[in-house]
Point group: C3
């Protein structure tokens, strides 16, 4: 639940975010210019939750709703309008938006968002809980992302892409949308649950990546990939089941990754994955 408080007052309350010394704040306060000592321009009509911390030089526009306990870092522009938004912007609780980022109006973002610096989230995205977007990465708008999706830096996810839950997209990878560039016929890829898109990959427009797939670094995927499949290279080739990939002990399957890696996921989700492992081992 988010209380609608006066944004300007809140800025004062939390002006000591990011570790500035009391001495510095006192300096800024000298002369009675309390109000703008952090040089923030936060719309009075923005709905700011409790315990939201703002950095400095921040812009928050109208029609923005920010949940409790969020951190909005310096030089960020929250609630940017390009005129194509179909609604305001809603950011769930506990978000942490790093500096120099831009979040457009029209998107609805779940709880526990984390972004890197210089990130962009464009209009009309529907994003689940626990989303992590790397530095200089871009959501191009009009796309749907499930829960606990994480990306590296410099990733671009094209319009109308559909990402399931627990997907990873690593550094410098792109999800394309235009089969015959330039055209008006835009279609995003679909990436299913638990799939891994390695670094420097390209997924072509309209292509579906199956559940639990692994795209090795530098894979240019031009066709659909069935569940649990490895793909590598440009042109890409399939290399069979992800289960073949063993950890350095030569015994443990590295994939599906959720059986060996639960770091940072909620305990109930991690437990369900561990229960799956036990079931597999029992059989």
């Amino acid at each position: 639940m988010e209380a609608v408080l006066d944004a300007r007052r809140k800025v004062n309350l939390f002006c000591n975010a990011f570790g500035f010394a009391a001495g510095m704040l006192k300096g800024s306060l000298a002369g009675g210019r309390t109000e703008n000592m952090n040089y923030n321009n936060i719309s009075d009509s923005a709905k700011i939750g409790n315990n939201v911390k703002f950095g400095q030089f921040i812009t928050v526009g109208d029609n923005v709703k920010i949940g409790d306990n969020c951190i909005i870092e310096s030089y960020s522009y929250i609630g940017y309008s390009n005129g194509r938004e179909r609604s305001g912007l809603s950011i769930g609780k506990n978000a942490h938006i790093r500096s120099h980022s831009v979040v457009y109006l029209g998107s609805s973002i779940g709880e526990n968002l984390v972004t890197g610096h210089h990130s962009i989230i464009r209009e009309n995205c529907i994003v689940g809980d626990g989303f992590q977007l790397g530095s200089s990465s871009i959501l191009m708008g009009e796309l749907v992302i499930g829960n606990y999706v994480k990306t590296g830096s410099k990733v671009e996810i094209g319009q109308f892409s559909k990402l399931g839950n627990y997907v990873w997209i690593f550094i410098n990878s792109s999800l394309l949308t235009d089969k015959y560039p330039p055209s008006m016929d835009i279609i995003g890829p679909t990436i299913n649950d638990f799939a891994i898109v390695g670094a420097h990959c390209v997924v072509f427009p309209g292509v579906t990546v199956g559940k639990d797939c692994l795209l090795g670094s530098g894979c240019f995927l031009t066709k659909d990939l069935g569940d649990l499949t490895i793909a590598v290279g440009n042109p890409f080739r399939e290399l069979g089941s992800v289960k073949k990939i063993k950890l350095e002990d030569g015994i443990t399957s590295a994939y599906p990754w959720r059986y060996r890696y639960q770091n940072g996921y909620p305990i109930e989700i991690a437990s369900s994955w561990l229960a799956e492992v036990e079931k597999i081992e029992d059989t």
Copy 2:
């Protein structure tokens, strides 16, 4: 024609750019600090056209000329000097420079420029009308770009590159300049009219891409390419004429693209392309 007006006065006139509520502006005005309520630092000697809209936290240096009806968004630095500029900066009318961008002195940019966020245009570039530069993309300076060139995000166009008219460079592609890195022997690629450089491509130093060519995603082009040619892969290979590529109906040629796509181009240009189509169909 651009009238030379007092920059600071204009900032006041257009302080409500980007959809901030009147309520917010009133708040900022409280205390009589009208002058800097948007925290802009705009040089008094900059020549700002009529109806130019500024965001907030903007820097505009000396020797900058901004045409009528431009929009300069927040956190942008217009007129940056690295000491290598041979002139001031001139930005034609109707430009829209998105937030967190940097435009150096020394460049001359035509009308209707559009940039993404976090974009960089360096010194001594000559850029035609209708140029669109994607987010986090960089013009490295000392280069020439024709009319209606468009790029995706994270594109880098190296020094001394020459781009014709109606060229497209898609996401994450680079035009290189140094054959024997590191060296002082810098030579840019040449990209001729209507050519398409797909996503994640690399065009090597001094290489010429012919008119109407198509570089598929992930192409590393190390040699010149004749007009109307497809190239793909790393190492690259030629795949014949672009005319072979059909749209999903299996009949219509997808390339040259101008015969099927005129979106966003001026009506007189679009008409001339359509007239070409008719001529082809008549023969």
Copy 3:
């Protein structure tokens, strides 16, 4: 040696950095708001050397030490904390940090640092003298970089990477760290002295690139490479000794590059390289 001066006073002293006209500064001074005319928030506890120039809209946090003659450009955040730093931030003399950059606490950076715009240096990096980091490039933290290393733009150097001296990493290349993504088993590549990593390359986790190696553009290096070796492609293949590559005269070896290129290196270093050439020619 850095004198500990009052940061705020220094901002006033150098407010005319970056070529703003006296007229503009006078305008900003009107109304007696001298103190914040550049809208900088610089911690009183930061240790700022002599003759440091600040742009505008700058944040400098606590526990930051900036050497003499540094330039910190606008919209930069120096001394950012993510809570993982093991110390303050130390930036040696003559650094030039371009606009919109972020430098975390915990890193120790030598003299003559140069960064591009939108660059990021994360926590606990040990960086030598003469480091140049391209625009939108990222040091991911917890890594070691020798002297005179230079990168292009959009480079990412992963955690725990080790770079020797005089290494070049060109545009859009990444040094990866996770063999079985996602995992907690992070290991960076090692790049030895004088090695060249071309544009759009990927060096895999834990891989060692030998001294004087050359990775051609688009190389995905998955295994160790001995000294003086060329590698290209994805999957990569070795192409023998770098000495085989001749300049356009067909006679002079292009590599090792230090025998033909000394631009920008200190005279005593350049001289030692030239002495090596003479020794080779004598034999």
